[in-house]
């Protein structure tokens, strides 16, 4: 009996291993639309960095089913992701796609655009420019990091310029809030009917924020505005760009705490005479040590933010 169960366990392990291999080889992101509010769905990615296992599925994307059509918020990291997202949306509704919105110009949020070539794709003017300027370099990076999951992916620049203010699409009233700080242009979308705030990458939840194009001062101001949005009557759900959905402003506070700590750490290191290698070698405080990808993002952020802190310290400002 014991031997039989061991054999069975062995067999099931083999099957599991085989299934794992198959999952990696079939380039299926296993996207399943998760309802986060009435008529609002999200695809929640992993709190990890791009790799050949996850194929870049480290990002949250979403869609809203309006009276007359579907509004898509961010299109994911690859052509395959965009295609599979479209199939997953079709399992929920047969309404036509009305608009795709790219919240900002980072590749995990727009490289699925190609799968929505027949749909208007909108973004803030600066986001459009950023995608046109940096898109190919981003895509090249992701080919390197995510491998064959990226096959066939090409940059498709948004063809419609959005601006802050009210926007009515497919019978749905959206409020667009044009902010910046994570990048030069970060679009927050508020769905009035459901009370969902789509924060894009201004908010990370349970995953260290990324800063390659950050202006931290602006980002902190943007977080204050987002905080305000969550205090308005009707607010129900906050969807961060990365990490779990929340029913409150806790992920905003978490993102703010990380950014404040990061800038204070850079300034203190520079004032104390540390150079970049010394600063890279500093250990994370216990409160951040267990946060996914905290160590990697800290090291990357030193590269992005330390030179300015150092200049301030050396110039006595």
């Amino acid at each position: 009996m014991r031997r039989a169960s061991a054999a069975l366990r062995g067999l099931s392990l083999m099957l599991l291993a085989w299934a794992g291999l198959a999952a990696a080889a079939d380039f299926d992101y296993r996207l399943k639309a998760r309802p986060i509010a009435p008529d609002v769905y999200a695809f929640i990615g992993r709190t990890a960095d791009f790799d050949t296992d996850n194929g870049g599925n480290i990002v949250n994307t979403a869609f809203i089913v309006g009276r007359a059509g579907v509004i898509v918020i961010d299109s994911g990291p690859s052509l395959r992701y965009g295609q599979q997202m479209r199939q997953a949306i079709a399992k929920v509704t047969d309404k036509p796609l009305a608009l795709v919105i790219n919240t900002h110009h980072h590749p995990d949020h727009f490289l699925g655009n190609q799968a929505f070539a027949d749909v208007p794709i909108g973004a803030l003017a600066e986001t459009r420019d950023g995608i046109a300027r940096d898109g190919d370099a981003f895509a090249e990076n992701l080919f390197r990091m995510s491998g064959d999951w990226m096959k066939g992916t090409e940059v498709r620049v948004p063809n419609r310029t959005l601006a802050g203010g009210a926007l009515e699409v497919a019978g749905r009233r959206l409020r667009l809030v044009a902010l910046d700080g994570h990048t030069g242009a970060d679009l927050v979308v508020v769905d009035e009917a459901s009370g969902v705030v789509f924060a894009g990458d201004l908010v990370f939840n349970g995953r260290a924020p990324t800063t390659p194009h950050a202006d931290v001062g602006h980002w902190l101001k943007a977080l204050d505005q987002l905080d305000g949005l969550t205090r308005q009557p009707g607010f129900k759900v906050l969807l961060p760009g990365h990490g779990e959905v929340a029913g409150d402003a806790a992920p905003i506070a978490q993102t703010r705490a990380w950014l404040n700590w990061l800038t204070a750490t850079m300034d203190e290191a520079a004032r104390n005479g540390l150079d970049m290698n010394d600063t890279l070698a500093r250990p994370l405080p216990p409160r951040f040590a267990d946060m996914p990808v905290a160590q990697t993002e800290y090291r990357r952020s030193v590269g992005h933010l330390f030179p300015a802190a150092e200049q301030r310290a050396l110039e006595g400002r």
């Binding site: 960095d49 300027r133 005479g273 290698n277």
Partner: protein, 256 residues
Amino acid sequence: MKFPLTIAAIALAALMSPADAAALRDEGDPLASARWADMHKSMLAGAPVLFDPRVKVVAPSTAENPMQVPVSVDATALPGVVEVLVFADFNPIVQVLRFYPDAAPAFLGFRIKLQQSSPVRAAVRTADGVWHVGGTWVNTVGGGCTAPSAAAVSPEWQKRLNEVSGRQWSEGPNAGRIRLRIVHPMDTGLVAGTPAFHLEEVNITDAAGKRLMRVQPYEPVSENPVFTLQRDAASGPVEASGRDNNGNAFTARIAP
């Protein structure tokens, strides 16, 4: 070239730890670079070489920004250092900088531009003519949202060329440290239409006029170079002076 007796003699004379002594070798590049033989010939003229753990080169194994890769060279464990040559095997311009720690510890921090993944090495010449070599591999692939820029983009230098800002630290864990930043585009000459334009000499002198260190930067040193060095006893101001390859000179005082 083999001289095992010399190695044993060096290890013994320097009272090296058994681990360090065991790591000393005069052949077989520890970084296994296909270009080592070329480097040995072109950078060090085939002179006797020891791969030596007392030459520490610190750099991130993965560089987020290949235009600003931090490198620290520490050869303070090695007695009698005359000259330090830093180079990167796979860079289009291999030679990064030289420094001569006249009256300062053999330590220098700076940032460099790397075109692709490469060993970054420091070859340290001691008075006996032997080059002690240490190094580390740097992988230049950045993160997913990094868009590498091809050339210097900051126009800051046009108004502030050769402006020096610097500080000294006289207490705390970094007592004796000097850091300075010099505004300079450090153009490599590899970008079409932009000729090579870089600092080629930086001298750090103490108040008595004694030179602590001479640095000769080459093209691969990053835009707006930042140097970190150490002085044995922090006392009084130091003077930073030098020039670029177009003859623009600078002199600046760095207060204690």
